[in-house]
Amino acid sequence: MLLRAAWRRAVSAVTAAAGSRPATPSRGLRLRVVDHAPQSAVHSDAAPEAEPVLRPLYMDVQATTPLDPRVLDAMLPYLINFYGNAHSRTHAYGWESEAAMERARQQVASLIGADPREIIFTSGATESNNIAIKELEAAIQPDTSLVSVMTVNNEIGVKQPIAEIGRICSSRKVYFHTDAAQAVGKIPLDVNDMKIDLMSISGHKIYGPKGVGAIYIRRRPRVRVEALQSGGGQERGMRSGTVPTPLVVGLGAACEVAQQEMEYDHERISKLAERLIEKITKSLPDVVMNGDPKHHYPGCINLSFAYVEGESLLMALKDVALSSGSACTSASLEPSYVLRAIGTDEDLAHSSIRFGIGRFTTEEEVDYTAEKCIQHVKRLREMSPLWEMVQDGIDLKSIKWTQH
């Protein structure tokens, strides 16, 4: 009872604070810097004012995902006892590491309908993209070209018609690359059905470790790529450097788990997405969902709240880890190029928030997020002069703003 009261006080103190930056004092309450070192039974004596800091909910799965415990479990032996270099040919440490690497390769291949010889491990989807695009420069014929398309967009969740694009490229003898980082393990993909020649895969988007990915390179008909990284000739000469066994084992385990869980996850995530959108749109007017609702991956919801500035809403929702637009471009203040490309008005583009729903998202987290979102949008709209004008029936588009 007492503890609960103390928690409530701590939470209300936290929500009363102006921002979530640890060093900013506000109303005399200094937020303790979240200590990321493991806290055993002994509390760290660094912060005597041990007001417990509550961690925000995680609703930003497009930026990165937590490790599935099944993945961590698969990786740990290779971080503890099985530490051999997979390319050492002369002893058991090398052989067991190589066996693990090849098992992982098979797990990745199986998820996308490929042959294991067509999977090259890289440091992530970005490296894979670079290898694929560089292939364009390595091409000799003048009319060779490459089409590169994201399978599922990371900002608005739209699914591209990959199979149709593949068919067109195949008939015109043009190489087809797709960055499937947000799609692998979430929607069914088959490189042969969809006539994909090159595919980039990212580990940390599918509940696997960061720092690893793969590139799928078709063998029949052979797609030639030029290596970005030269050295000892590992990975068929296409990507030199010791393959990091613990990481690729994690990627393989993540792919295997994803293959098993795809249908179950998709159904749950779809229901949760519907729930979130329904709750928000039922209580708030003037909310726009960005992206084609028919060809859409449910776990990535991008909403624009008219007359509310996106960054201020994000700061207000500090109990929930969210983002507006993609993490890659979050440092700049420009509105998202994706939203601009789909024709979103600039003012709506500035007020977009991306909600990510993943394998571990609970109904309670969705409800909490929806409630906070509704609460803060209402509050911010109350403060907005534009909202006031709209309530008075003024058409904002008819206003001629004076120029300075």
């Binding site: 979240v34 493991p38 806290q39 995680y58 937590p66 479990d73 109990d319 987290e365 909490y368």
Partner: protein, 101 residues
């Protein structure tokens, strides 16, 4: 080895749920073994998986499923323990949650 009996399957089911609920250990020192959502995922997933397969008749398939469940039980045991070693602060939502049965 005798075919897995109904009683054994139920024992396994109970063992897995029990183990997963260790993620739910209410702990006054503000440390939770796992992110709340992963704990709830485990309990929910186990229930749904056993429910999904309850009408399987083929004894070979039953044995395969039971073996996989036993391996998963070991994974849960290990990962609960590791989670407890590396625990951190609760999520904002956890102090508001009513305890789940």
């Amino acid at each position: 080895m005798a075919a897995t009996s109904r009683a054994q399957v139920l024992d396994l089911y109970r063992a897995m749920l029990r183990e997963s609920k260790h993620f739910n250990a209410y702990n006054y020192s503000s440390s939770f073994p796992w992110p709340c959502s992963q704990r709830m995922y485990a309990v929910r997933r186990i229930r749904d998986a056993f429910r999904e397969n309850k009408n399987v008749k083929d004894p070979v398939e039953i044995q395969n499923l039971v073996n996989k469940a036993k391996r998963d039980l070991e994974i849960i045991r290990r990962q609960v323990h590791i989670g407890q070693l590396y625990s951190t602060d609760k999520l904002v939502i956890e102090n508001q949650e009513k305890p789940r049965t």
